[in-house]
């Protein structure tokens, strides 16, 4: 394990969230494709997604998309304005803060009905 700084963790999270979103998209293409086998098959499989495991999984998906988007903005800014490299740490902390601010209420709203 190389003990890099925040930049290394920002990149690792970016990778993982990117792969997670890609996996979701592949599954999503497959489940949408099921409609070719008729509405019953489609309804039955997609109905599985109301199971709590998938509900929690959806929250994870939101987290992945949100982080990937916010850190993507950080990287794009740094690419177009190389002088922002001096600020990469504060920029990363801003990404984390905005992520928490947006993610917590969203997760609450999504899981509210599961909790009670």
């Amino acid at each position: 394990m190389y003990r890099g700084g925040p930049g290394q963790w920002a990149w690792l999270l970016h990778r993982w969230s990117g792969v997670a979103v890609l996996l979701f998209l592949l599954i999503h293409i497959l489940d949408t494709g099921l409609v070719l086998f008729g509405p019953q098959v489609y309804d039955k499989v997609v109905g599985l997604y109301t199971h709590p495991v998938f509900r929690v999984g959806e929250v994870g998906l939101v987290a992945a998309v949100l982080y990937h988007a916010l850190n993507g903005i950080r990287i794009t800014l740094i690419d177009f304005y190389p002088e922002l490299t001096e600020r990469q740490r504060p920029l990363f902390y801003a990404v984390v803060s905005v992520f928490v601010l947006l993610f917590l209420p969203t997760a609450y709203l999504m899981l509210e009905t599961l909790l009670w």
Binding site: M1, Y2, R3, G4, G5, P6, G7, Q8, A10, W11, I75, I78, D79, F80, P82, E83, T85, E86, Q88
Partner: protein
Amino acid sequence: MHIRLRVKRFEAGKDREPYWSEYGLEVEATDRVLDALHRVKWHQDGTLTFRRSCAHGVCGSDAMLINGRNRLACKVLIRDVGDHIAVEPLRGYPVIRDLVVDQSAFFRKYESVQPYLVADGEPPARERRQSPAERERFDDTTKCILCMACTTSCPVFWPNPEYVGPAAIVNAHRFLFDSRDTEKEGRLARLNAGDGVWRCRTIFNCVEACPREINITRAIGEVKKALLLQKG
């Protein structure tokens, strides 16, 4: 103070697997890790092998992985790493022996960016003039001592040894932004290749590792931007 120094050892052609040697020794908190390595080599185990030359942070010989970070052994104090110290060779290049890695591939990449002034046309009668502002443009990247700490800290480089790497880009930047140089196109084309600047993922490990505090990711970013804004 008493320290426990662990060193990852390996001898090409002899050992099949790397192994750890452990040494206990007395040092001052203000000694450098290099002093501890010297003490071991001179008084405990003459077979311990590492590179060093200047011992003052200018030659770039003794970059190594110290407690999980690339550092110059001659610049890092014992008190800054604690009394349990683990030293490993730089990652990504073949180990010749102990802390000595084979630098040939590293220097081939360095040479591939033409790290020297190329100035076409008749040489002027006096020196080639440059304003302080023009000199300032590439000041940061003149400070490189080719220690390899940046390239071997890069997670993009570890699995892709073909990646030209931060050190070579730093040295290309030093001439790309030099007003006297006339070989911009060749260097830019070289860095635009598949193993060039576009491999960089702005991870900043190189910046954290550089003992000369060069803002390497900025230099790489400036090269990327120059490529992007190139006509055509």
